[in-house]
C-alpha cells in the first residue's frame, strides 16, 4: 500500500489507459451514486412520515361516525349515527383513570371569520381544554380555552397562526380583539401554532358548549378524541391502545344499536396503530432500498471485475513480459488489486460526493407529503466508503488471481 514505486506504476498505467479507467470508474461511481440517492430518499420518506404524525398527538385516538350499513334489531341500514355529549360523558366516566387527554369536538367546516376588513373561511371547532394537547398545538400568544369558558358559554376564540396572519394585517396582538365568526362576535384570547403546518393552523377554536349553543347543535358532537398515557415500550403501547379502542367500539355500538360487524357506522382511528403499520412499512422500504443499493454495488463490482478481467486478458502479454523480466506472482496480484481498489475508491468517492451534493442542494427543495428533506447521515456515508474499498478488493481479486496464473511462456508465444 505504501510502496511508492507501485503507486508510480499504477498512476502510469492509469494515465496511459484513461478511457478504460474512466469506464470502470463510471460504473462504480453510478452504483454508489444510486445507493446514496436511494438512502437519501428513504431518509426523506421517513422524515415525511414523521412530519405527518407530528401534526397531532402521536397516540391520539379519534372517533368518527357515519351511516350504518347493516340491518340490526329491526333498524334499517343507512341510518346516520350522531354522537352526543352523552356518549362523551359515558366514556369519560367509565375510563376516567385510563385516559390522559380527552375532548369532544363540534365542527363547522368553512366557517366565515371576519376581522375589520379582512375575512376568510376557516374550520371552526368547538372543543374542550385538553384539545390543545390532542392537537400538539403550542400557544404563541395568550391562552387556550379552559374549563370555565365552557361552563360559562364564553364567546372566546383561539385562532391559528395562519388565521392571525390572514386577518391581522396590522401585525398587532390579536389578544382582546373581537372577531366575527359566522356573524357572531368572539373575543380572541390566544394564538397557536401547530407542527402540522398551515393547514392545521387555519382553524379557530371556541369552547364546545358555546359552539353547540350559538350554532344550534344542541347536544350533538362531531367526533371524540382521546389519548392514553405514554408508555416506554412502543409495542406495549400499541397493544394497550388497541385493547382500549376495541372496548370503546363495542360500547359505542351497543349504545347506538349498531351491528357488531358494521364497519361504516363507527370509525375509530388509532394513530399508534397507524404509526406502527407505517413504521413497519418504512423499515421494509429502508431494507428494500439497502438491498437495491447493495445489489447495484454488486452489479458494479461484477462490472468492474469483468472489466478488470478484460484488462487482464488484454494485458496478458504485458504480464507475461513482466514475469519474464522478473515480476513475482505476488507483485502481479498486487498490481491488479491495487489498481482496482484505487480506481473503485476514487470513483466511488466521486459517486458519493455527487450523491451527497445532490441531496444537499436539491434535498431541501423536496417537500411533498411523503418525502421531506432527504439526507444521508455521516455514518451511512462512512459505511459506503468501506463497502467501496471492500468492493474494489473483491472486484480486483478474481482478475488478479487469474493474472498471477498466467504463464509467461504462454503469454509470450507468437501467434
Amino acid at each position: 500500500m505504501f510502496n511508492l514505486e507501485r503507486w508510480e506504476e499504477i498512476f502510469e498505467t492509469i494515465r496511459k489507459n484513461k478511457l478504460r479507467t474512466f469506464l470502470t470508474g463510471v460504473s462504480v461511481a453510478s452504483g454508489i451514486f444510486i445507493l446514496v440517492i436511494l438512502l437519501g430518499v428513504s431518509t426523506g420518506m421517513q422524515n415525511g412520515v414523521q412530519q405527518q404524525f407530528q401534526r397531532d398527538a402521536a397516540n391520539r385516538i379519534s372517533v368518527w361516525t357515519g351511516a350504518t350499513s347493516i340491518e340490526y334489531k329491526g333498524l334499517n341500514p343507512g341510518r346516520d349515527i350522531q354522537l352526543t355529549n352523552n356518549d362523551y360523558d359515558l366514556i369519560d366516566r367509565k375510563y376516567q383513570d385510563q385516559l390522559e387527554y380527552k375532548s369532544s369536538i363540534y365542527r363547522i367546516w368553512g366557517g366565515l371569520v371576519n376581522y375589520k376588513n379582512e375575512s376568510g373561511s376557516y374550520r371552526v371547532e368547538g372543543v374542550l381544554p385538553d384539545y390543545q394537547f390532542l392537537e400538539s398545538a403550542t400557544l404563541t400568544d395568550g391562552r387556550f380555552i379552559n374549563y370555565a369558558d365552557n361552563k360559562r358559554y364564553e364567546k372566546i376564540a383561539v385562532i391559528g397562526l395562519k388565521v392571525y396572519k390572514d386577518l391581522f394585517k396590522d401585525k398587532k396582538s390579536a389578544i382582546g380583539k373581537s372577531i366575527e365568526v359566522q356573524g357572531i362576535l368572539f373575543k380572541v384570547v390566544g394564538v397557536y401554532t401547530d407542527p402540522g403546518g398551515e393547514r392545521e393552523e387555519s382553524r379557530v377554536f371556541v369552547p364546545l358548549s358555546t359552539a353547540q349553543k350559538v350554532f344550534g347543535a344542541g347536544q350533538d358532537v362531531g367526533s371524540l378524541a382521546f389519548t392514553l398515557p405514554q408508555e416506554d415500550n412502543f409495542e406495549q403501547a400499541v397493544k394497550t391502545s388497541k385493547a382500549f379502542t376495541d372496548k370503546l367500539e363495542k360500547q359505542l355500538k351497543e349504545a347506538h344499536t349498531i351491528a357488531p360487524e358494521d364497519e361504516s357506522a363507527i370509525d375509530i382511528n388509532n394513530s399508534l396503530e397507524n404509526m406502527k403499520n407505517v413504521y413497519d412499512m418504512m423499515r421494509n422500504i429502508r431494507l428494500f432500498f439497502w438491498f437495491v443499493g447493495i445489489a447495484t454495488i454488486l452489479a458494479g463490482v461484477v462490472g468492474v471485475s469483468n472489466i478488470m478481467l478484460i484488462i487482464v486478458k488484454e494485458r496478458t502479454k504485458e504480464i507475461g513480459i513482466r514475469k519474464a523480466l522478473g515480476a513475482q506472482p505476488l507483485s502481479v496480484v498486487g498490481m491488479i488489486l491495487h489498481e482496482s481498489v484505487f480506481v473503485t475508491t476514487i470513483a466511488g468517492f466521486f459517486g458519493l460526493l455527487f450523491g451527497m451534493l445532490l441531496l444537499e442542494f436539491v434535498g431541501p427543495m423536496v417537500e411533498t407529503d411523503f418525502i421531506s428533506n432527504p439526507t444521508v447521515n455521516f455514518q451511512v456515508a462512512v459505511s459506503t466508503v468501506f463497502i467501496l474499498i471492500f468492493a474494489g478488493a473483491i472486484a480486483g481479486f478474481f482478475p488478479a488471481w487469474r493474472a498471477s496464473r498466467i504463464k509467461p511462456i504462454v503469454a509470450l508465444r507468437d501467434e
Binding site: K16, I321, R322, A324, L325, Q328, P408, I409
Partner: protein
C-alpha cells in the same frame, strides 16, 4: 556457465504427445556467443525457453552458473530470471504504453532499484545502444531495429549472466539485422555470454559457435570463424 544433460521435453496435445527434445547435451562457457540453428519446428525455442526458466524440462539436468535449476516455484524462477537472464524476442515484446526508457527500467524495478538510480542506469544502456535521443518515445514511434535495440538495452539493464535471444533478427530486414548483430557482437566482446536462436545461416555465422538441432537432437556442434556484422552493413 550453462550445463545441460540428457534434456527431454514433450508437449501433450489432447491424446497425442509430441516429443520435441529427445536428449540434449551441451554446455556453454562464460563469454561464449552461441547460435542454435535448425529448421522451423525443430525445437529451438523450446530449448531456449527451458534455458530461460520460462518452461521446464521433463527429464534431464540443467545448471546455470552452478545453480541447479529444478522444480523451481514461480517465485524463485522469477527471481532467477531477473538475476541471471536477459531476454530478447523476435517480436521485441516491449510494453507499448511505456516509453523506451521506462521499458528498459522495468527489470530494475523488479530488482528493487530506486527510481533515480534506475533511470540513470536505464538511460546509460539506451545510450549504449545508440537511442539516447529516443528515450521518451513510445515503442510505436520506433522502427523495428530501434525497438530491438530497446529490447537489448532492457535485457542488459539487469546485468544478467546470460543473454537469450530467440530469433532477434527474425522480424528485421537484412541491413537492420546486421546492425543488431553488430550490437550483440559488441556486447559479447565485453564478455557477456549470449545464446542466439536463428534459422538464418548468415546470422549464425556471426556467432562463434553453431549448434545444429534436428528432430530434437543436436546433430552438429562446432566452432566457426566469426563474421563481423559491421563488414556487411
Amino acid at each position: 556457465m550453462i550445463e545441460i544433460k540428457d534434456l527431454h521435453k514433450s508437449y501433450k496435445t489432447g491424446a497425442s504427445s509430441l516429443h520435441v527434445l529427445k536428449g540434449i547435451n551441451f554446455s556453454v562457457k562464460e563469454g561464449e556467443l552461441v547460435s542454435i540453428m535448425g529448421s522451423s519446428g525443430s525445437g529451438k525455442s523450446t530449448l531456449l525457453n527451458i534455458l530461460g526458466m520460462l518452461d521446464e524440462a521433463d527429464e534431464g539436468t540443467y545448471t546455470l552458473d552452478n545453480f541447479p535449476i529444478k522444480n523451481l516455484n514461480e517465485k524463485v524462477a522469477a527471481k532467477y530470471r531477473n538475476k541471471f537472464l536477459g531476454f530478447i524476442f523476435q517480436s521485441f515484446n516491449l510494453i507499448n504504453y511505456k516509453s523506451a526508457l521506462d521499458n528498459v527500467a522495468l527489470p530494475l524495478y523488479y530488482q528493487g532499484v530506486g527510481r533515480k538510480e534506475r533511470m540513470d542506469k536505464s538511460f546509460a544502456y539506451l545510450e549504449k545502444v545508440g537511442l539516447a535521443d529516443w528515450a521518451n518515445h513510445l515503442p510505436n514511434e520506433l522502427s523495428g531495429g530501434q525497438k530491438q535495440r530497446v529490447a537489448i538495452a532492457r535485457a542488459l539493464a539487469s546485468e544478467p549472466k546470460v543473454l537469450l535471444a530467440d530469433e532477434p533478427t527474425g522480424a528485421l530486414d537484412t541491413k537492420t539485422s546486421y546492425e543488431v548483430m553488430d550490437l550483440i557482437q559488441g556486447i559479447n566482446d565485453e564478455g557477456k555470454t549470449i545464446l542466439v536462436v536463428t534459422h538464418e545461416d548468415d546470422i549464425a555465422h556471426m556467432t562463434k559457435r553453431i549448434v545444429n538441432l534436428k528432430d530434437g537432437l543436436i546433430i552438429d556442434d562446432s566452432y566457426v570463424n566469426q563474421v563481423r556484422a559491421i563488414e556487411n552493413v
